[in-house]
Amino acid sequence: MSERRHRFWHDVVKYRTLLLMLAPAVLLFFLFSYIPMSGIVIAFKRFDYVGGVFGSPWVGLDNFKFFFESGDAWRVTRNTVLYNLGFIILGNLLPMITAILLFEVGGKWFRKLTQSMLFLPYFISWVVVGSIAYNFFSYEVGTINGLLTWIGMDPIDIYNTPAYWPVILLVVNTWKTLGYGTVMYLAAITSIDKEMYEAAEMDGANVFQRILHVTVPNLYPTLIILVLLAIGNIFQGDFGMFYNMIGNNGLLFSSTDVIDTFVFRLLIGSNEIGMSAAAGVYQSVLGFVTILLANYAVRKYDKERALF
């Protein structure tokens, strides 16, 4: 016992610099992630200003009722998860491929230029993207329908056809985040030990073999971390995106409504903090469970690469 305690203090002293560097992050997490967690109680209360967070009356699970009573809980949860799955798959696969291509192909100039061009959409706000999309897809004035009628085809009614939207949203989201992911994978690639490539070349590996047997395996850790982090968010819809692309168009809700937009729409008028908190708790709990499961799966497969 005393041996262990001794060891602990010994370690503290030994790693004092590292611990000091860790301290701000831990402090921030504690302040902004752990302390606010006590606010979860709001999800079980009818919040009023007089009582405040802790003094408001308890209402049990009443705040969760609106969500499940609506009959839409399953639909929006399904949409959220499916969209996020799509985003995770495309959002990791394409950046990985792009990064590998850029790494293999480019002269320095070309690489930098392409990288910046790809990154640019990341900085465009969803509000602007929503307007751009409207000018593309509108029935009367949209570019796409302009082109279609020009080549003699019938215009298509994109904003009133739910079936198009999963594809559109996947494409738009990928277009917007591709540059960001590419940079991350590119960074991972450049940190791969050059000697491995030299050795591969000595053994007579061609470009494709080099990519398949050196680059890709070395990207696994990055991939796993990014996927695990993303999976924790799988129940959170990107509100900015869905709200600005779809807005209030009820006709599209069957295929585009996610938890966040649904909750926003329901509660915008009622000012019920408790109900929004309930929706948040629902998302977080499901997300927490999913990430535990995913991490468990990774651990089973390869202990080294699990997040925790």
């Binding site: 902004f32 992630s33 302390i35 606010p36 967690m37 006590s38 606010g39 979860i40 709001i42 919040f47 200003y49 007089v50 009582g51 405040g52 967070v53 003094g55 009722k65 609106f66 009573e69 609506s70 009959g71 839409d72 929503g130 409207y134 509108s138 029935y139 009367e140 009614d157 904003y159 009133n160 960001y180 982090l229 993303a230 924790g232 968010n233 959170q236 509100f239 779809i246 807005g247 209030n248 168009n249 009820g250 006709l251 809700f253 649904f262 729409r265 329901l266 008028g269 009622s270 000012n271 019920e272 903090i273 109900m275 929004s276 908190a277 929706a279 948040g280 708790v281 998302q283 977080s284």
Partner: protein, 525 residues
């Protein structure tokens, strides 16, 4: 990476964060609740004290500074205009005012916090759409007794018709000084391009049928002009419902829920307006218009401003209330003198409902220690010609040009002052904008003769018990009603059956029962 993990915080933590930020405010909220009744008492006893001394003017020997909370953007010319107001106010009642402005974008969140945190302010803007009932029942406002009003706001007390005071009562008590405008209408109508109508030799627009003929003619002949532009795409029903369903049939509107009552029904039977034969008829009317290009097929996704589009000639018609359309009309005619515009009432035979007095008003904070002087200031803002002109229009010659005693014209700098909720001081002293179109004035004059007062006029639905149902039914309307009405669903009967089924599933019956019981209780009083 940092970006990603930040996103991870998500809705849950954000709301908790927000809640913790409120935490500090809430600590004080208890105090606010404890204080307010006490403050109420002091204020009341003060007034009775002075009352006993006889109706002498209030003691203004010490100078006070009144804090005022208003809605809207802080005017660019705030310093100049308020310096002038203060000079005047100091002379008359030895007080000055300082205003704080809650921006339109987030006033509804900040407003309740002002009370919850028991901030130090004396006067606050309020309205039936700005939490008047909420804050009054929660004890945020000082009760304005007849004694208080007659003593400290004598001019207002004399000028305000009794019915306006009565409309401002909550459980028999008054908490605001309402605006005292003769007639403000909440009824809507449409603005059309009369030059286009004449071009196609159509009858004047004065009914749903003539309006449809006009919209269809524009759709057929005018490439590049959309016939009808939505007031807002952020809605759960058709923007014309208010005119073609509620106003036409003399029903009472309850915003956000599908229920209504006939204004002339003494029993006030609540019914769902989307289950009536009137609605079936209207649906065919809408479908016909939609199929003939009456509005954009993407109406529900529209991203543009209807007002701007109309002024730019991209729209042939829009709907709104008479004041707003009058403004659009004046601007559009200035930019396009060759246009002819007309305001059309689509249900000219219906009764008109004037806005009730709580549409705009000023209240005193329950914990204000300067309630007397605050009332005196409000009295002057509404009824003292000099101060009224200042608070309503800014500085003469700079922000507006006075024309005679009752008219004015806007200068370029009008908007530098007129950016906030000063409507609460409208009164009989108001000036009329000389550019306000004759047509709009005539409509107002006509309507004034048709104003209908009914018992339920000032009834407000308290949704607390059916919050879940109201939220869910609203969502059903967005999803099933709006697309149906805008003609985006082919099979009307099936669309309507779906709508009714989903509304029932979302709990519409419970809302109906609650609304009915509240109305019955209101009428029983």
């Amino acid at each position: 990476m940092i970006k990603r993990s930040k996103r991870q915080l998500g809705l849950a933590v954000t709301s908790m964060l927000a809640a913790t930020m409120v935490l500090s405010a809430c600590g004080q909220a208890n105090k606010a609740a404890d204080n307010s009744p006490a403050a109420n008492n002091t204020a009341a006893s003060n007034s009775t004290n002075t009352g006993e001394k006889g109706n002498t003017a209030a003691d203004t020997s010490t100078e006070v500074k009144l804090k005022m909370v208003l809605l809207g953007a802080k005017p660019a010319d705030y310093d100049q205009v308020f310096a002038e107001i203060n000079k005047n106010l100091k002379e008359k009642i030895n007080a000055t005012v300082e205003a704080e402005f809650l921006a339109w974008s987030d006033w509804s969140q900040k407003y309740p916090l002002k009370f919850a945190a028991n901030e130090d302010f004396d006067i606050i803007y309020t309205s039936n759409w700005a939490q008047y009932t909420d804050q009054a029942t929660k004890g945020g406002f000082l009760e304005l007794t007849d004694d208080l009003l007659s003593q400290y706001a004598p001019q207002t007390w004399a000028a305000m018709p009794k019915v306006k005071w009565d409309q401002a009562r909550i459980n028999d008590k008054i908490y605001m000084i309402p605006s005292n405008k003769a007639n403000e209408f909440t009824d809507k109508l449409v603005l059309i391009r009369d030059d286009l109508r004449e071009k196609y030799g159509l009858e004047p627009v004065n009914s749903p049928e003539t309006y449809a003929a006009y919209l269809k003619a524009v759709a057929k002949n005018e490439k590049g002009i959309t016939p009808y532009g939505l007031e807002s795409a952020e809605t759960n029903n058709h923007n014309l419902d208010k005119q073609l369903l509620v106003q036409k049939n003399n029903w009472k509107e309850f915003a956000g829920i599908p229920f209504t009552v006939k204004t002339d029904d003494a029993k006030a039977q609540v019914f769902n307006m989307y289950e009536t034969p009137e609605f079936d008829q209207l649906l065919t009317y809408y479908k016909d218009l939609a199929d003939n290009g009456g509005w954009s097929r993407n109406a529900l996704t529209s991203k543009s401003s209807t007002t701007d589009d109309f002024k730019a000639g991209k729209l042939a018609s829009m709907s709104h209330n008479v004041t707003a359309l009058g403004g659009v009309m004046a601007d559009a005619l200035k930019a396009h003198p060759d246009w002819k515009l007309a305001l059309a009432d689509l249900s000219p035979d219906s009764k008109k409902s004037a806005a009730i007095s709580t549409q705009n008003g000023m209240a005193i904070h329950a914990t204000s220690k300067k309630a007397e002087r605050a009332l005196m200031a409000l009295d002057l803002f509404q009824n003292d010609k000099q101060l009224h002109d200042l608070v309503m229009y800014g500085i003469a010659g700079t922000n507006y040009t006075p024309e005679g005693d009752d008219k004015f014209s806007k200068t370029d700098k009008f908007a530098n002052y007129n950016s906030f909720s000063n409507w609460s001081w409208t009164s009989t002293l108001d000036r009329v904008d000389t550019n306000y179109p004759q047509a709009a004035q005539e409509i107002e004059k006509q309507w004034a003769g048709k104003v209908f007062n009914y018992e339920l006029e000032s009834f407000v639905f308290d949704k607390t018990k059916v919050v879940n149902e109201v939220a869910n039914v609203g969502n059903v309307m967005t999803r099933y009603l709006a697309p149906l009405e805008y003609g985006l669903i082919k099979d009307l009967d099936k669309g309507k059956a779906d709508l009714i089924k989903q509304m029932k599933a979302a709990g519409s019956d419970k809302i109906q029962a609650e609304l009915q019981s509240q109305i019955d209780a209101f009428l029983a009083k």
